[in-house]
Subunit: 708 residues, 2 copies
């Protein structure tokens, strides 16, 4: 079957999935919103979230536009278009995800109110989440298929230039990497701005409530609370969707780029049918995953739900993963069984299949490990909670230790998967392994998005004073969301690590001359210097994000404080929520520029001055530092958060809510907030964006450097 036909079949699946997304979207929208209070509050949240996105996209579109013009003029004629395509897909997913989540949250609490059934309520929240999840996978594939189908697929021997500049590159490769880059840039902006928005609002609320006015959490007299509410959607829905979309697209792109490199390092001694098979498989595997997600999520939608939501959610992930494995095996057999194979494929046609399974298993294992280190059911978080009795300094030090300790096992899983898939399938195997982990991203993102929807539903139920029965249901959903979030984070971190490793391998392929062996030699002092610099840049990036968050929080606290007049404190007047919502957006957006531009410029400037191998060093260094740091940030933050909950649930004898131990645990939680929701998640995208930029410019600058 010719490539184009196969792609068209996958396109059919994608269209089907997007139709299902549309169906769910309108189904959710038609559901009743509940009491007038609920309608009003959810309206404020929705319009606040929309305002944020509108403001943000004004800035993003300028940067994206400028970069697209530069690409068209100086890199490759069509690269501007494909770059815009990537940015567009990422943006659609953000807007759609946020819109559907802000519809779903209030309808979830209303369903709880009307049905008083856990199963029915879970269905609404999951349906809302599945819009985000399936959109991520569907639009990510739609854009790539459009690039492939409109520009005639992938050829390994073409050459082209920009409209003005003269350096040549392979336009097919360039289109794929710029498509991926478009997704990356939007994701970077979303992650950085979203993290800043949500945490500045959250922390400034805490300063006003806990430190300055001694009010309970989320008290409506604090003007910053509604911004805090919106923040959950901005970061956990929009940020997460664009982040995972980025990872997913990057692994598909890296697989295709590595397939080209593989062909070229074999000096053209490989059959064209083999080349076509390696180009085709990544798209087909993603298609298999998408079918799996449709089955898994569709079943959850149709069948009657029991009262154990955790099991139901897990089940839909397992079904999606299982289908991906089964269909992936069939696809691998059909595609690779009748073509001559590379020597690297130690298991013949089964090599890519087994590699994809390695990725899936690794993702799940990392999720389980993450849960172990951050859940109140296990020792690390329990011990952290116990340490709260010795005061703030001990909690923080112990939390640091938990975070650092939690790094080793996930990394061990990553390298075992890396080595096995490398031994069985070479660098192509590694790329496919990364893609395998993300092939059913639709399901994982759906479950991820379930969390903030349930969280918001609970908040709405409380703010609108719904009955205790209803609260009980939404509380249960919230708790489930917290657990599933751990597994989602495991996937996000694991896939970022895998994606970056395959992007670096693709990068080395992109700068290596056809027919020469791949080399990124750390016996060269230039490369070592790059490595050390890359690591330090990650630390610097962490510093910028952290400082941005607390600076914004401090400013927002000071402005909010002025509104807390005696009238407001007595409950006789309402503070100006909108002012704080707009302020949070403004602060977040103007602070997102420096770190994003840094990630964009480092590989370009470094490459022009000291060459492609130096940049290779930077990428390796940044990745090696960012992986453990991201895990540290996520897990120490998660453990702090849950240690606080552990104490609040009265599990630490003699130290309940309001005790000094509880106060210490709140301090830990606040510190952890910035770590897990701002810095940790942004690190993943930082290394992916740098690697994608490097991949894009590698063919252009490979023969150019100022020094050395």
């Amino acid at each position: 079957m010719p490539l184009t036909t196969s792609w068209l079949i996958v396109l059919g699946v994608v269209v089907l999935a997007l139709a299902y997304v549309a169906y769910n979207y309108f189904r959710i929208k038609k559901m009743p919103e509940g009491t007038p209070d609920m309608i009003e509050l959810s309206g404020i949240i929705r319009s606040g979230a929309q305002t944020f996105l509108k403001t943000e996209y004004k800035s993003i579109s300028i940067v994206v536009g400028v970069v697209a013009v530069i690409f068209t003029l100086f890199v490759e004629k069509t690269a501007g278009i494909t770059f815009l395509m990537g940015a567009l897909m990422s943006s659609i997913v953000c807007v759609l995800g946020m819109q559907s989540a802000t519809y779903a949250n209030v309808r979830t609490s209303n369903k709880a109110r009307e049905s008083l059934s856990i199963g029915e309520t879970v269905k609404v929240a999951l349906c809302g989440g599945s819009i985000s999840g399936l959109a991520v996978q569907g639009f990510g594939m739609l854009g790539l298929l459009a690039v492939l189908l409109c520009f005639g697929g992938v050829k390994h021997d073409a050459e082209s230039t920009g409209l003005i500049a003269g350096l040549t590159c392979n336009p097919y490769i360039m289109r794929i990497s710029t498509y991926s880059l478009g997704c990356s840039i939007v994701a970077m902006f979303n992650r950085v701005a979203g993290g800043n928005y949500t945490k500045a609002a959250d922390i400034s609320s805490d300063i006003l409530g806990k430190l300055r006015h001694d009010l309970p959490e989320d008290d409506s007299r604090i003007p910053n609370t509604i911004a805090d509410f919106i923040g959950d959607n901005v970061n956990d829905i929009a940020g997460n969707c664009s982040d995972l979309l980025e990872s997913f697209v990057a692994t598909m792109s890296a697989s295709i780029m590595i397939a080209v490199t593989l062909y070229q390092t074999h000096g053209g001694k490989v059959a064209d049918t083999t080349f076509d098979a390696t180009i085709l498989f990544p798209i087909i595997l993603a298609g298999c995953g998408l079918v799996g997600c449709l089955i898994g999520l569709g079943l959850a939608n149709i069948k009657k739900m029991g009262d154990n939501p955790s099991r139901e959610l897990d089940l839909s992930t397992w079904i999606s993963a299982g289908c991906t494995v089964i269909f992936g095996g069939v696809a691998s057999y059909v595609i690779f069984n009748n073509v001559p194979l590379y020597d690297d494929f130690k298991l013949g046609w089964a090599s890519p299949w087994v590699s994809s399974i390695m990725g899936i298993v690794a993702g799940i294992a990392i999720g389980i490990i993450t849960e172990y280190y951050t859940s109140t059911d296990h020792k690390p978080t329990q011990k952290l909670a116990e340490m709260c009795t010795e005061g703030e300094a001990f909690v923080v030090t112990k939390g640091d230790a938990v975070g650092s300790r939690s790094v080793l096992l996930p990394v061990f899983v990553i390298i075992v998967a890396l080595i096995i898939s490398g031994v069985l399938g070479g660098s192509y195997g590694i790329a496919i392994s990364a893609l395998g982990m993300l092939a059913f991203v639709g399901a994982t993102v759906s479950i991820d998005a379930f969390g903030p929807i349930a969280d918001n539903a609970g908040g709405l139920a409380e703010a609108c004073h719904l009955a205790p029965d209803v609260r009980k249901i939404t509380d249960k959903l919230d708790a489930v969301g917290n657990t599933t979030a751990a597994i989602g984070k495991g996937f996000a971190i694991g896939s970022a690590a895998f994606a970056t490793v395959s992007l670096i391998m693709a990068y080395v392929g992109n700068y290596t001359t056809v027919g020469e062996p791949l080399s990124l030699n750390f016996a060269s002092f230039f490369v070592v210097a790059g490595g050390i610099l890359g690591g330090a840049l990650v630390e610097y990036f962490c510093a910028i994000l952290t400082d941005n968050t607390i600076d914004a929080a401090k400013i927002m606290a000071d402005v909010g404080d002025k509104q807390m007049t005696q009238e407001v404190l007595d409950g006789k007047a309402k503070p100006d929520y909108n002012m704080m919502i707009e302020m949070a957006a403004k602060e977040a957006i103007h602070r997102m520029v420096l770190p994003s531009v840094l990630a964009l410029l480092i590989p370009i400037v470094g490459g022009l001055i000291l060459g492609v191998e130096f940049v290779g060093g930077i990428l390796v260094g940044a990745t090696i530092v960012a992986i453990p740091r991201a895990i540290f940030m996520g897990n120490s933050g998660g453990a702090f958060d849950n240690a606080k909950k552990y104490i609040e649930q009265g599990m630490l004898e003699g130290h309940g809510k309001g005790s000094p131990a509880h106060k210490a645990s709140v301090t830990g939680d606040t510190i952890g907030d910035t770590r897990k929701d701002v810095v940790g998640v942004a690190l993943d995208i930082f290394i992916k964006l740098m690697s994608t930029v490097a991949n894009t410019i590698a063919p252009i600058i490979r023969n150019f450097k100022l020094f050395g």
Copy 2:
């Protein structure tokens, strides 16, 4: 001049320096100790410190003995002896440094009491410090010269095996690397145990004083205070001496090993005179530095001191550094002017000289940057102090940001020095640059050791209720010690980074077959996997050290608490200090084994299973993560410490001692203590030890691996 004659001349300088050490030691010992109170208390400190060392060396000698036997039997016949030599030199320096510091501290406060002159007092403390400093450099060189002179120098083409095993290696290289390894292992034990000892004592005192009984700091009713006092000597003197000795020896060894590699990669087409010159220069450069130190410290000893001790101390560093530059230039000219040179030497005979200057300049620059980020005179620490008004969570988050931000500039300095010395002198230039930074280590360690001596002198003056005039002098000395400590830390971190980079280069040379190009290829997934693992191991190592410290502190607090009966609290009875001193030692020593053995075994096990390139990946990954982490730990800790002092000095208007802001700053300081005094300093030695182990086993395992 034949090599042996040159080495004998250097040996003469070393003997001269050690004679000067002995002279100062007995001069200090003869000085009067002061009041009976002072004699008693300093006696307790001295005997406590001795007890710790005795207990520690029981454990160390077992490990060292076992390793020495293994080396002799399975690696190289004479390697056990040279390994013991390294361990011996490191141990001598520790014991001598600690002994002289515990003599000097009480005599410093007594000199202040008798003379009431800052200048005279500084002289005593500096004289005490110079014993440690010159011993580090003198014994480090003595051991290496003994190895070279006893076993006939360095030959590039010899082969030998262990008494039992059959794998061959170059015995000359093996002797040098095992000598260096002997120093490393003792340093590792000292750093890990010393850090645990001092901080467990310190933190447990804080728990008892501040959290449980509301007593002032260092109150004599807290049984853990004397152990805290002793800790300063254990960590800041013994730990620091063996750490810097290790760096110094490692850079000399790496230079020699790289000289051999250089000769071999040129396939024997290089003159023997060139080879001899590259082997000779490192020793001569170290000798030049030693002469510089003797001049710099000797002048400080002879001349009349003014009342600005900071200037006087800086002056002796500058003189030592200046002499090293001048003598180093002459030596480089004499040694390299008349021999054919490698193509890498872009500046001819001046290449090694300029490289060494790069190292010196980089060390000083890093010191200055460190001071900027951690001193109360500059913005970062001042802003951190201001953040204290917003509570604990903000201080910690801001401190994290300061620590992360402070990483970039030092790393920038390191890579600029690395690239310049690499461009001008190749890998040999990089090794010499690292050695240049440490060539006057005698002076930097002397100034470093001044700090804890002055600190202890102040403590003694306070505990023995000396007059306010005397306290003023010792306070002044203490403040100076804090500033100079920053520069010392800069040198320690910078030199560790440089030493490790040259050790990694030497390692690649050690496993590469003669005549083949050096390669450590990160385009191979095995190497990438190693890199990611190396980074995660550093995080894990941090976690072990942190957990060890707070666990030991908690146990010590609980035991100490039982002694704080009403009688003790009323001041009617004295608590059992000795019990706590012994307990601190016991806790520290049994906890030092796991992390040390980890550093020893990782390269060996990794190499046997997945090969030398995998281990190369581990070393690179560990270094890339450890450099920024070590800087982060040191600088965030330093900034926390000084932010607290800033508030205590009343510099933050409206927030003095005892205010909530001050309380928050104390929390930051406690968190920072573990970071800077336990984790940060141990990271340096962790990566150096792993690299030295890898260097030692590289020739043995280079053709062996189980998988891949």
